[in-house]
Subunit: 460 residues, 2 copies
């Protein structure tokens, strides 16, 4: 018997009903929140300052911790050799501040990547404009992180940015509108702002978690902790739980490997990919920070990973030109790395993605991509591999459709049933390697004509 | 000063004149040959036997050596874990025959991949039908290789194939028509047959080389010698030079790394990729076989590599939906592997390929793909990398267009000039890593709407 994991189940249930072929319906991905779900002790704001040409389109945002105790910070950053200036600045600030930070500033419209010395100076100017406008902090060296996204190789209109930051500082709030404005300031080719919030119990207290991310193309992140420092996937996870910097980094690295590093739109890893985590302890001013040794740590880590997966999946739903949301689940692998590598290989296959777009049950391509995954020799035994389509929760017939069993194709695949399964927005491809117990999930979208149109002339 | 390498120069000159935007013009890629350019001592034939539904479309071909001395054989085969049955059979035959073979049989329309035990029996039946129909051979254990290409997971109509082989054996010729028929029998989504022939001097004699290949999609080969045995790029290089099996394998491995393993259409490595080499010595019956120690060996190896590159480039010209032919050249790298890995990363980037389709000088994507290439830490120094567009030979202005110099973007890139360069069918992207002396080239095509259309519903 097959039990859907919680994450996949939620992804499926997001699709309300059976659908006609076409772009993913995004309306129901913008959720409305009341003010009390957002973490305590943060102020946020967003505005249009002129990085983007179109008036009124938000392109600059800030978040600042207003908590009296030092705010723990962690980051996972792109492993691309060409790190954008904001990635360099964030890396240095994390080291200087000993894992403490004040907040961050983000702009969209220009990535400030491959911009040489001036680009680096501009990123520092953004950081300093925020830090210097905030009240004195108890945490020595704690600064403001920087995130930028947009076109590579162009300079920021830095005066417009630094000129607008004081106004944003004067306008810091924690209202649903302020959080949504901040999420809008992250957007480039995104078609909807990506904001989520939740609360959970930790050490007997209610703590809150807010998250924002962005991304629709150039999505194949592979981020690690700042050493070695090396995404245009941007995101932030802010909590009012009290967590030590080391524990926050450990939890974030774990969460990112199982969320943002397990999604793909087009297989291109950006120069700017950045996921920040902030924990200001405002929910429990009287409690010490959780460390990796705390009994609460695994609870926090799993909550963070689950929340990160929810946010990461939104990026795939908004994948450039996407009409399908595909979960690739690899089970019974020798270890997580093999499972993850196979899932990544299938999720990144252009031929698989085109077949999904065409609603073509071409499982040969799935197997082919499984076979060329870059795993150690012997990690896959072709005669133990099984492949199954798992129908979306919106399908009337919920039974899995087996395509391949232990390396042998099923004798009579019900193509009509396959067509019904593939007509849904959501699909899960289950790959059972049959030689271990480890599991990994990867989320991807299909490859459509619209993707080519969007990316054939991005800059104009 | 920049000097175009010989291969790139030939590729450029293939484009006769300036062009309107649209699919690659393929008419001038089918060349006419006279009978005397084909290697001596081979008979070839092709027919329609019924693997493909459409009457008259060639789907079965054979090549047999008619030389009296044993024919040396070598192969580079897919490294995909899911090896198709014909790959398994070819691997075993190469071992059994101690590097000797009689010829090969090829079919298109069905890949005989992931077809279990029956598939393996079918592949052996194809091989045996050819071998048993040929006269007795002096080379003990020498058999007939097998190649299949087409849909994965379906069984061959084996009786139609084995039933047609005796007729093909009775029809073996070395006429231009017979060679072209054999080339046509390789075709699947290919839009033109890929046949080349040339002659050169070796040890004072004229030797001849004929080559056929096929491929238009699922093209990102990574083939090695049979150990470890692990390609739907199919090809054969047949010569009448006398070369020992070991020397032939060494020369083929070298040639494939610099040709078929250095092309990409969509980044998907097939279960069937196979390149065969045969050397029957018919041009010089009185000479001993060349070994790796022979002074002639480097001459033969370079001729084979150059010829293989010509054939490999034809696959890219015929890339599914391709409108552009792009040469990615990485220079001044620490070693060949780094150069090759960077070139492969750029050539496989969907975002780079979409930008080429859109004729958009988005060099940031080139740099981005350079930065995420899977090379050892420190192999790329971002502050030493330069990127340049090299215009096609058809451009009036032949001067290179520098985009990035030692990590700093050029101040004023002439976008009008970039548009003119990008409007041509051919383009070379030159990436100078600035930290070594090694070089590699990779050939790729752009990513078009037509690619998505072709692959959205391949099986119907």
């Amino acid at each position: 018997m097959r039990v859907l994991p919680a994450l996949a189940r939620r992804a499926f249930s997001a699709t309300a009903a059976s659908r006609a072929k076409g772009p993913i319906n995004k309306d129901h991905h913008v959720l409305e929140y009341s003010a009390d779900v957002f973490p305590l002790g943060y102020g946020v704001a967003g505005t249009h300052c002129g990085v983007k040409k179109k008036a009124g389109v938000l392109d600059l945002g800030i978040l600042a911790s207003t908590s009296e105790r030092p705010t723990a910070a962690a980051a996972c950053l792109t492993r691309n050799v060409f790190k954008a200036a904001p990635v360099t600045v964030t890396t240095e600030l994390l080291a200087q501040g000993n894992g403490r930070a004040r907040g961050f500033v983000v702009n969209s419209g220009c990535a400030n990547a491959v911009t040489g010395k001036k680009g680096l100076a501009d990123a520092w100017a953004m950081s300093n404009a925020l830090t210097s406008g905030l009240p004195e902090s108890a945490a020595k060296g704690a600064g403001s992180f920087v995130m930028s996204t947009g076109v590579i190789g162009q300079h920021l209109p830095i005066d417009k940015i630094t000129g607008a930051i004081p106004g944003l500082i004067a306008d810091l709030h924690s209202t649903p509108k302020a959080w949504l404005d901040l999420a809008k300031a992250f957007m480039t080719t995104d078609t909807f702002p990506k904001l989520r919030a939740r609360s959970f119990e930790l050490a007997g207290r209610t703590v809150r978690l807010a998250g924002i991310d962005k991304g629709a193309g150039m999505i194949a992140p592979n981020m690690g902790p700042p050493q070695p420092p090396h995404a245009t996937l941007l995101g932030v996870l802010a909590t009012d739980a009290a967590v030590s910097p080391a524990a926050l980094q450990a939890a974030l690295t774990y969460a990112v490997d199982r969320s943002f590093n397990s999604i793909s739109v087009d297989g291109d890893m950006s120069t700017n990919d950045t996921i920040l985590a902030l924990a200001n302890g405002a929910a429990s001013p009287d409690l010490a920070e959780i460390t990796e040794a705390s009994p609460e740590f695994p609870v926090f880590r799993e909550q963070l990973a689950d929340f990160a997966a929810e946010l990461a999946q939104l990026v795939v739903r908004d994948g450039e030109g996407a009409t399908k949301f595909v979960t690739v689940r690899v089970r019974n692998a020798p270890d997580f790395n093999v499972a993850n590598t196979v899932a990544r290989s299938v999720a990144n296959s252009n031929l698989v993605k085109c077949a999904m777009y065409g609603e073509d049950a071409n499982w040969g391509r799935i197997l082919c991509a499984t076979g060329y995954a870059d795993v150690p020799a012997g990690a896959i035994d072709p005669f133990r591999v099984s492949v199954t389509f798992i129908p979306s929760a919106t399908c009337a017939d919920q039974s899995p459709l087996r395509l391949l069993t232990k390396g042998e194709p099923e004798a009579d695949i019900d193509e009509a049933r396959a067509s019904v399964i593939l007509a849904e927005e959501d699909l899960e491809i289950d790959i059972d390697l049959g030689n271990g117990e480890a599991e990994a999930q990867f989320w991807t979208c299909d490859f459509s004509h619209e993707y080519v149109t969007i990316n054939g002339d991005y800059r104009s």
